[in-house]
C-alpha cells in the first residue's frame, strides 16, 4: 500500500508538471470512477496538487473552497489594493476588497465569489461586490458602488497567468442648495459613473502559503467620456488552501 501511494504521488506530480513543492496530499480509500490516476491506483489513490492549484488559483482566479483563505496586498500605479477571501462552501467564497488610486480614490467592498470552471489547467470564477466610493482631491465623489467581475487563470505548475475583466458602477449623488431671498431650495441629483476594468497578470507561487502577483491594470474611470492611463501592480499574497480535492479532472 505504501509503495502504491508513493507511486501514485510521483505519477500525479509528474502529470502536474513535476512540481517538487506540491502542496496537498489527499488519501482516498475508495477511488471514485473514473480514477484520477488510472495506472497506479486501484484500491487507493493519492492526489498531489501542484502549487498552481489551491492557494494560487484561489488568489488569482477566485472561487476558494470551504475553509480556504487568502490575503493579497497589491501596490502600484495608479491602483493599490488589499484583498481577502474566505471560502464558505464548495464553490463559494466571501470577498473583502479595499482598492485605492493614489490614496485619493477609495472603494471598500464586500462580495461573493463563485467558481464556475475548475479543471486541472483552468479556473474561472465570477464575483459580485458591493461597496462605497470615496474620492477626495480635485474631483470629490462619493456614493454606493457595485462590481461584477470575471476572473480566469491558466494553471501551469507554480505560475498562473490570469485575466480579470470587470464592470464597476457607482451612483454619485449631488445635493444642490439654492439660497433665495425668501427660501432655501434643496435638490438632489445623481449620475452614474462607469469603470470598465481589465487586469492581465501572473501569479507565482513561492511556497504553498506565499506567492507574488504582478500585472498591468486598465481601469477606465468614468468611461466613456474620460481618458485613463494604464497602470501596473506588484502584489504579495499569503493564506491557506481549502484542502479541496483535485477532483476527477486532476492530471487530465
Amino acid at each position: 500500500m505504501k509503495l502504491q501511494s508513493t507511486l501514485a504521488a510521483l505519477v500525479c506530480s509528474a502529470l502536474a508538471g513535476g512540481d517538487a513543492l506540491a502542496q496537498t496530499v489527499a488519501l482516498e480509500t475508495q477511488a471514485p470512477s473514473p480514477p484520477a490516476v488510472p495506472a497506479a491506483a486501484d484500491s487507493a489513490r493519492v492526489v498531489l496538487l501542484p502549487l498552481s492549484r489551491g492557494l494560487l488559483a484561489d488568489v488569482v482566479a477566485g472561487g476558494a473552497g470551504a475553509g480556504g483563505w487568502g490575503v493579497t496586498v497589491q501596490g502600484g500605479y495608479a491602483w493599490s489594493a488589499l484583498r481577502g477571501y474566505y471560502g464558505v462552501g464548495h464553490r463559494l467564497a466571501l470577498l473583502a476588497d479595499v482598492e485605492t488610486a493614489l490614496a485619493v480614490r477609495w472603494r471598500p467592498a464586500l462580495g461573493l465569489s463563485a467558481k464556475w470552471v475548475d479543471t486541472a489547467r483552468v479556473r474561472i470564477s465570477g464575483d459580485v461586490l458591493l461597496g462605497w466610493l470615496f474620492q477626495s482631491g480635485s474631483l470629490p465623489r462619493r456614493g454606493p458602488s457595485g462590481e461584477l467581475r470575471i476572473r480566469a487563470a491558466v494553471l501551469l505548475g507554480r505560475v498562473a497567468p490570469y485575466l480579470v475583466l470587470a464592470t464597476k458602477h457607482s451612483i454619485l449623488p449631488d445635493r444642490t442648495v439654492l439660497q433665495k431671498a425668501d427660501s432655501t431650495q434643496i435638490t438632489w441629483t445623481a449620475r452614474h459613473e462607469w469603470t470598465p476594468w481589465g487586469t492581465l497578470g501572473v501569479g507565482i507561487a513561492l511556497t504553498p502559503r506565499l506567492g507574488l502577483d504582478v500585472g498591468v491594470d486598465y481601469g477606465w474611470v468614468d468611461a466613456p467620456q474620460s481618458v485613463a492611463i494604464p497602470g501596473f501592480h506588484l502584489g504579495l499574497y499569503f493564506g491557506g488552501a481549502s484542502g479541496s480535492r483535485c477532483g476527477a479532472s486532476c492530471g487530465s
Binding site: 500605479y77 493614489l102 474620460s226 494604464p230
Partner: protein
C-alpha cells in the same frame, strides 16, 4: 526664477506616454510638401491653480486623464507653468507662443499681467504676452484699470490685449468699455476677443456677450485697432458652428478684423475634425486667409498643443491650402500684425 523639474506627475506621465511612443521633441516647424513651415501658437494660458474658482477647477480636472485628474493641481502646475508651457511648445515643434493674462474671477479665474510678464522672461525670444484688465467694477475702477493695462502693455514682450466678454460678463456693444479699444489703437496693440459660448461654469451665454455680431459697433468705431475674433464664434455648448459666417463677413467688411480658429477643433469639441475643416475651408473660399492667425487655446492637458497643431494642419490640407497660405496662417499673419519676428525652423 530657477527652472523647475517636471515633477513626479510629469515624470510618471512621461513614462506612460513613452510606453505609447509619444515621447521625443520633434523638429521645429510643420512639414508641408517637403518644406518646414514655421508655426507659432498665439493662444496659450499660463495659470495659477489657486486663482481659479472651485467649479472651474473641477471642470478643468475633468479634462485630465485618470489618474492625473485626482490631483489636478499638481498636474496643472506641470503644464501651466512657464517651463511646462515651453515643454509643450517644444513638443509641438512651435517657434514660439503667446501667453494670455486673464481677469475673470467668477468664471475661468485670474492669470495676472505680472504672472504673464514673469513667464515671458523664461524665453523672451519665443514667448510673448497679451495683457488684460478687470472689468467687474468698471464704473468705479475704469480709469485705474485702463492705466494698469497701459502700464502692462509697456512691459517687454507684451504685444496685445486679451478680452473675453462671456467670461468677464460685459456686453460687446457697450460703449462704456470702448476706452480699451482706443488704447489698443493708440498703442498699436491688437486686441483678442473670445467669441462664442463657453463651457466653463459661470460663463454668460447671452448673445450680447457671445455673438460676434455685437462687436461690429466697436470694430466700426475703432478702425485703428486690430480685432482678433477668437474661436470664430463657435458654440462650445452644442459643439457646432454658430458665428463662423458672421466672423467671415466682419473680416471681409473691415480690414482691421482677424480670425483665430482655436479650441473649436479639439478632440472634445470636434471629434471628427469636420468642424475645423469646414471653418478653414469657408475662410479660404471667402478670401480671408490673410486674416487667419493660428492659436490652440492650450496647454489644457499634456499633448494638447501638439495635437491641435496637427489637427489644424490636417484641416488646412483637407481644405486645399497652398504652402504659402498655410505658412501665413501658422505664423506669417501673426508676425506681420503683432510686430513679432518668428524664429525660423
Amino acid at each position: 526664477m530657477k527652472r523647475k523639474g517636471i515633477g513626479k506627475t510629469g515624470l510618471l506621465l512621461s513614462m506612460g506616454l513613452s510606453l505609447f511612443g509619444c515621447s521625443g521633441t520633434p523638429a521645429r516647424g510643420v512639414d508641408w510638401e517637403g518644406r518646414r513651415l514655421p508655426a507659432f501658437d498665439m493662444h496659450l494660458h499660463p495659470g495659477d491653480w489657486d486663482e481659479i474658482p472651485t467649479a472651474t477647477q473641477s471642470f478643468l480636472a475633468s479634462r485630465f486623464p485618470f489618474p492625473l485628474n485626482l490631483d489636478a493641481k499638481s498636474a496643472a502646475k506641470d503644464v501651466l507653468s512657464a517651463d511646462g508651457i515651453l515643454a509643450e511648445v517644444d513638443k509641438a515643434g512651435l517657434s514660439g507662443a503667446v501667453l494670455f493674462a486673464v481677469y475673470a474671477p467668477r468664471t475661468v479665474g485670474i492669470a495676472t499681467n505680472e504672472l504673464v510678464a514673469d513667464s515671458l522672461s523664461r524665453d523672451p525670444q519665443r514667448l510673448f504676452g497679451l495683457a488684460s484688465l478687470r472689468v467687474d467694477n468698471w464704473s468705479r475702477d475704469r480709469d485705474a484699470e485702463l492705466q494698469r493695462l497701459r502700464t502692462a502693455l509697456s512691459w517687454p514682450g507684451m504685444v496685445g490685449i486679451k478680452l473675453a466678454h462671456a467670461h468677464q460678463h460685459f456686453r460687446m456693444d457697450d460703449s462704456s468699455y470702448f476706452g480699451i479699444y482706443q488704447l489698443s489703437a493708440e498703442l498699436q496693440k491688437p486686441v483678442y476677443l473670445h467669441t462664442g459660448t463657453s463651457p466653463f461654469p459661470g460663463t454668460s451665454q447671452a448673445p450680447a456677450e457671445t455673438e460676434p455680431a455685437y462687436l461690429e459697433p466697436a470694430i466700426k468705431a475703432h478702425p485703428g485697432a486690430k480685432f482678433l475674433l477668437g474661436h470664430l464664434g463657435y458654440d462650445f455648448v452644442s459643439k457646432q458652428h454658430a458665428g463662423l459666417q458672421t466672423c467671415i463677413e466682419l473680416a471681409k467688411k473691415y480690414p482691421n478684423v482677424f480670425l483665430e480658429p482655436s479650441a473649436l477643433g479639439s478632440k472634445g469639441s470636434d471629434p471628427t475634425g469636420e468642424n475645423l475643416r469646414i471653418a478653414m475651408q469657408r475662410m479660404r473660399e471667402a478670401g480671408v486667409v490673410d486674416r487667419i492667425i493660428y492659436g490652440s487655446d492650450g496647454p489644457q492637458s499634456p499633448g494638447f498643443v501638439k495635437d491641435y497643431l496637427a489637427r489644424t494642419v490636417e484641416a488646412m490640407r483637407a481644405a486645399g491650402y497652398t504652402a504659402a497660405e498655410a505658412e501665413a496662417v501658422l505664423s506669417g499673419n501673426f508676425a506681420r500684425n503683432f510686430g513679432v519676428s518668428v524664429v525660423a525652423p
